[in-house]
């Protein structure tokens, strides 16, 4: 018999029951809730007269449609300008109070984007199954978790039973060996992977990211990569445990301490794929060859290296692809064949569950320090991923660097990644964005998203157009 992958090990250790029809009952260790995908689940519980199975597994916070404006935020829930958003955030507070679920309320220390909050509080532990009504839950896989998004019916299912009925996925390994060049970040790595395997490339699979590039990468960088596994179609993305994982966990609020921590760490260290484990699908990418990446179209696979030109319709091989490229170019208002660096940006967004951690803040601040946002850029937002990130960034003086350069320093939340609050693009506006999706209308009706790293977005804010951060000098053109 061949060895086991990390995913196999996680699956086996959470199996409650196998059914004859091939489905299985899987135990959930951590359930994270937010205001958008939970109200109907709580309502369902109430209507069926059910209670949460366990309270010490759930942790909630509002993030999706809260205001990031400091003045509005200071006014609390009542300060949320949009009435429907206000009701939704209030409903989360009410539901958590009613059922006794631990919640980090909007302005409480600990609050943040669900996928920034979970790991930084130590609510996410290696070896856990982690679910949340949000597709970017794969983020937590950076700590060798079996973590994935679920729909609202499953949120209710997990609340009621602590389990999910599911089927085992296939194993995929994406190996990136080599060494990343200067200016090449985890975001570029994951965008390059999506460009390679496509948005459906990982469908039905759990992806393990392996190879020297991930071993060298920080835990926060691994989170950026796992976060976007869903953009490659995979619900689950993960990285095996190493000493970086164990070190990251030490001292966090909900983590065990003392002897119990050592006992846990001993188990966590077993969460690596066996040498003879077999993967259903294997993909290899040369890390040395990855350049900073930028999306030009309306799907996260529509990505080019910053040195390349925007694709032409006639260069596409099949008819479905031609149609796709044609429609994307039309929506984006771009011409095939033009250099991607010729695209001017109207707004810049640095934030989201992909890129709003302290390392992202530091990287962006380093680029903008001593420069000014281009006069052609209407707005450049920096939205820290959590209260803790915000506090740390301010302690390091990063907020001052951003504001001195003309960027807006905001309160933590999902913000312009999905534009459920007031942070959004106008029709036709181009945005250099560190978020994860460039779908039509994602950042605002008619808005045009260009996905890239925090460094690249920061550089675009200064020059006013997409620019290769490796040659960026701060000169405006």
């Amino acid at each position: 018999m061949s060895g086991k992958t990390v995913y196999d090990k996680l699956w086996d250790s959470h199996l409650v029951k196998k059914n004859e029809d091939g489905s299985a009952l899987i135990y959930i260790d951590r359930h994270i809730l937010h205001e958008v995908t939970s109200p109907q689940a709580f309502e369902g519980l109430r209507m069926a007269g059910r209670k949460p199975w366990r309270l010490d597994t759930n942790v909630a916070t509002p993030d999706h449609n809260i205001s990031t404006d400091p003045a509005e935020r200071a006014a609390g829930v009542a300060g949320i300008p949009d009435a429907t958003s206000r009701i939704q955030v209030q409903t989360l507070d009410d539901n958590c109070d009613h059922f006794g679920i631990k919640e980090f309320k909007m302005n409480e220390m600990g609050q943040g984007i669900v996928h920034v909050m979970g790991p930084e509080l130590g609510a996410t532990m290696p070896g856990f199954t982690v679910v949340c009504g949000d597709s970017h839950t794969a983020t937590h896989g950076a700590l060798a978790c079996l973590a994935h998004g679920i729909g609202t019916s499953e949120v209710e299912h997990v609340l009621a039973s602590q389990c999910l009925v599911t089927k085992k996925m296939k194993n995929m390994r994406v190996t990136v060996d080599g060494e990343l060049g200067a200016g090449v970040t985890p975001k570029d790595v994951v965008l390059a992977i999506i460009a390679e395997i496509g948005t459906a490339g990982g469908n039905g699979h759990a992806i393990e990211f392996a190879g020297s590039v991930f071993r060298e990468m920080s835990i926060e960088g691994r989170m950026t990569v796992c976060n976007m596994a869903i953009e490659a179609g995979a619900r689950v993305g993960l990285v095996a445990v190493d000493e970086k994982t164990v070190d990251y966990c030490k001292g966090r609020q909900f983590m065990p301490s003392g002897e119990l921590f050592e006992q846990a760490a001993e188990y966590w260290r077993t969460l690596v794929s066996d040498a003879d484990a077999v993967f259903d699908t294997e993909v290899s990418i040369d890390g040395n060859a990855i350049a900073p990446q930028v999306s030009w179209g309306t799907s996260p696979e529509m990505v080019v290296p910053v040195t390349a030109n925007i694709p032409k319709v006639e260069d596409q091989t099949d008819e479905v692809k031609q149609k796709g490229v044609e429609r994307a170019l039309e929506y984006m208002g771009l011409e095939g064949g033009a250099p991607i660096t010729s695209v001017y940006v109207d707004r810049v967004f640095i934030g989201s569950c992909t890129n709003s951690r302290i390392e992202d803040m530091r990287a962006a601040a380093k680029i903008v320090e001593g420069h000014r946002v281009s006069s052609s850029v209407k707005q450049a937002l920096v939205v820290p991923g959590s209260q803790m990130v915000k506090e740390q960034a301010e302690a390091e003086g990063l907020d001052k660097i951003f504001t001195a350069a003309g960027l807006d320093w905001r309160e933590p939340g999902c913000s312009m990644c999905l534009a459920m609050n007031a942070d959004k693009l106008g029709a036709g506006e181009h945005c250099a964005s560190t978020s994860n999706r460039n779908f039509e209308g994602r950042q605002g009706n008619g808005g045009r998203t260009h996905l890239m790293s925090p460094e690249m977005a920061a550089a675009a804010a200064i020059t006013g157009h997409i620019v290769d951060v490796r040659t960026f000098s701060g000169e405006q053109s």
Binding site: L25, D56, G122, V165
Partner: protein, 215 residues
Amino acid sequence: MKAFTQHSGIAGPMDRANVDTDMIIPKQFLKSIKRSGFGPNLFDELRYLDEGQPGQDCSHRPVNKDFPLNKPRYAGASILLARKNFGCGSSREHAPWALEDYGFRAIIAPSYADIFYNNCFKNGLLPVILTEQQVDVLFKEMNAVEGYQLTIDLVSQKVIRPNGESFDFEIDAFRKDCLVQGLDEIGLTMQSADAIKDYEKTRQASQPWVFGAIK
């Protein structure tokens, strides 16, 4: 949950690959705390010429006449014919809620994004998988004939065309069973309460740090 055994209805098109959940139901409508009422905003940005707002009466909004589902020939469509990787993107169950509320009972496509596919079954919406060639055949027939109707028989796992010929499709036994019987999945899981408690006991003994962390 509404049971699904057999359904006959008019087929309507969504003829593009990688239709994402933002396209199916834009984010401003996710602010609702209800499960129903999303139908008028299905494909909102493609369907109307203005920007939709939650709670608005959609009957007076300017309609995009070029959007296929707005054409009179597809009025009352209850089977959506779509292309590969349908439903990619977010986990929002509002996407199947919107499709169901609009009047769709089934979707036919060559492939779906995993989370969306899973969410459909929780809402009595049947996502049928056929090959790209078979989906092509259906698109061609539908484009050629106004009022083109299909019958989907879940029990025998067949999509039956107007000429009587049919395409077989695969589906998980568990999912099929839940849909055919309209079963309450949570109720089913609760029947395994003892197994869940046993699992917790074993785990508590070997990995005590898993429990009690969040207070």
